[in-house]
Symmetry: C2
Subunit: 319 residues, 2 copies
């Protein structure tokens, strides 16, 4: 697939914007003082179904032919993309098959069902998941859409930053969390085509720093789970993919790692100061801004708050 | 003091609106389904300093003469009004004296100081507090402004509902939490003058139902703290006052009581569904909507979310 052009991204934006929310941009004098920077928080927690994933899922579904839509769409996800694809398919009148590990919590399953997705459970291994997906593809003819390593998904994700740059054209940095790579790749493309003199920075938990290591080694690295010590930013435990990694290498300036305590501290600042509820993954970006003042000092910085789907009791246990 | 007129309230609105935020109104399909009603949440958690109190404080300070402003303003509060009066005084170039019990947490004290208020500590009894206020009044000539039982404060508070009715003129009910009575009295006046066919309802914790009992008995009742069992809605532990009670009796339709478990459940819904952070006191209004479907069914209902100043760790302990 040839690399997308500026006008290609404008087409994506026109296609997606009618079907998703234009999310608000919040500011905070106190957080600006703490950061020594001027921060613009793009609040994808207020997006439909609660996360930026709605943008990529919408674009990917809308790109399908009538014939393809008749056979439905398929993904594997126990997180936001499962809900996003279910809702995007529903609004296109298509069926969504969602492969989920049988360990997925009931609250995630019922969210997917509430958006009309059909859940197919499988064992909690990558092999079982891929086998199940292939099986469904063969049986139904549904189109498989990867949560983060699909170009249409990446381009759809870019629309959050296109909106942000329309509102704040002079941004000098845009920072996003890095999980599977779909958000930062889309963000970097939007910054490349629509920013003036702007760079893209990624933020990642130090104990799940696969993207940081991939960025240095030049090949896709994976996370090694040491002693079952998992990051609170559960959306960021996944690895980069072959479609988004080249975009990230080409257009992302650097990736900053943050400690777990920094994530929780940033999360608390967002709750108490911005008065909004975000996922721990979203707080990773603010944590990076606060732990690297030398990078952000005096800069107009866009911070993508990726989503707000949480189980309050789970979050509160960490404090 | 003669009762305010419609044009009097318009004057208040014109005075206050330039100095406070016009706060957003949020909606949620899921919460509408749960309530069987169409809900419009007026988000005073996004107000300056984080609560509706900024409106009343601003109006009261702006009504003072230059002579009065020179001598400063004075209140007793360990909560939002302490911060609101400090900030409202600061923007009028006046000094604010804030009498606080010596038991007030450091986080509240430093918030007041950050807005320029001067804190005077006293023992944690009503007598000590009033003695200290009188002493400062005599020493400084500062004007005492009560947090909830002052007509200018009440009129200022009305501006939240005036804004809401400008955006949603067809509201049939507006519901607010009831603490000291300053918010619901202002709300009821706004509904009376600017609503079409709209009523005002109050919501109160069952274990601090002084307003409910006052409404029935026709005189101001106080809360009896049984076994130290205090409501999580800490902003609602205060009693009504002689200025707001007559307005409440005249213009409020009813007061609904809610249990502590209902408050926490509504709080969680606001966090998880609206994705915003509010104080437990704000959740009392939604809790009442959900526990009394017979009152709200099919009605367009405005819900005033009074504020968002919380200590996340304090909230955590309750879940």
């Amino acid at each position: 697939m040839a690399e997308i052009t500026e006008s290609g991204l404008v087409e994506v934006f026109d296609r997606v914007q009618a079907l998703v929310h234009k999310t608000p941009v919040l500011t905070s004098r106190l957080l600006d003082e703490m950061a020594g920077s001027t921060l613009f928080f793009k609040c994808e927690n207020f997006q439909r179904m609660g996360a930026f994933k709605m943008r990529g899922a919408t674009n990917a579904v809308q790109r399908l032919s009538k014939e393809q839509l008749k056979k439905g769409v398929l993904t594997h996800s126990s997180g936001n993309f499962a809900q996003a694809l279910s809702l995007a398919a529903k609004q296109a009148g298509a069926k969504a098959y969602i492969v989920m590990p049988d360990s997925a919590p009931m609250v995630k399953r019922s969210a997917v069902r509430s958006y009309g997705g059909e859940i197919i459970l499988c064992e909690s291994t990558i092999e079982a998941r891929e086998r199940k997906c292939r099986q469904i593809e063969i049986e139904t003819g549904a189109t498989f859409i990867h949560p983060s390593d699909n170009l249409d998904v990446i381009y759809g994700n870019a629309t959050a930053t296109i909106e942000l740059l329309q509102e704040q054209p002079d941004l000098e940095i845009v920072i996003t969390p890095v999980g599977g790579g779909g958000l930062i790749a889309g963000t970097a493309l939007a910054v490349h085509f629509f920013g003036k003199s702007c760079i893209t920075i990624g933020a990642e938990p130090a104990i799940a720093d696969d993207a940081y290591r991939s960025f240095i080694s030049g090949k896709i690295e994976t996370n090694v789970n040491v002693n079952g010590n998992q990051t609170v930013a559960d959306g960021l435990r996944t690895n980069l993919g072959k479609h988004n990694f080249p975009i990230i290498r080409k257009y992302v300036n650097q990736i900053i790692r943050v400690e777990e305590a920094e994530i929780l501290s940033a999360l608390r600042l967002i709750y108490e100061r911005l008065k909004i509820v975000v996922e721990p993954s979203s707080a990773v970006a603010l944590a990076a801004v606060l732990n690297s003042p030398q990078v952000f000092k005096g800069k107009k910085t866009g911070v993508i708050l990726s989503g707000g789907n949480i189980d309050l009791r789970e979050i509160l246990k960490r404090f």
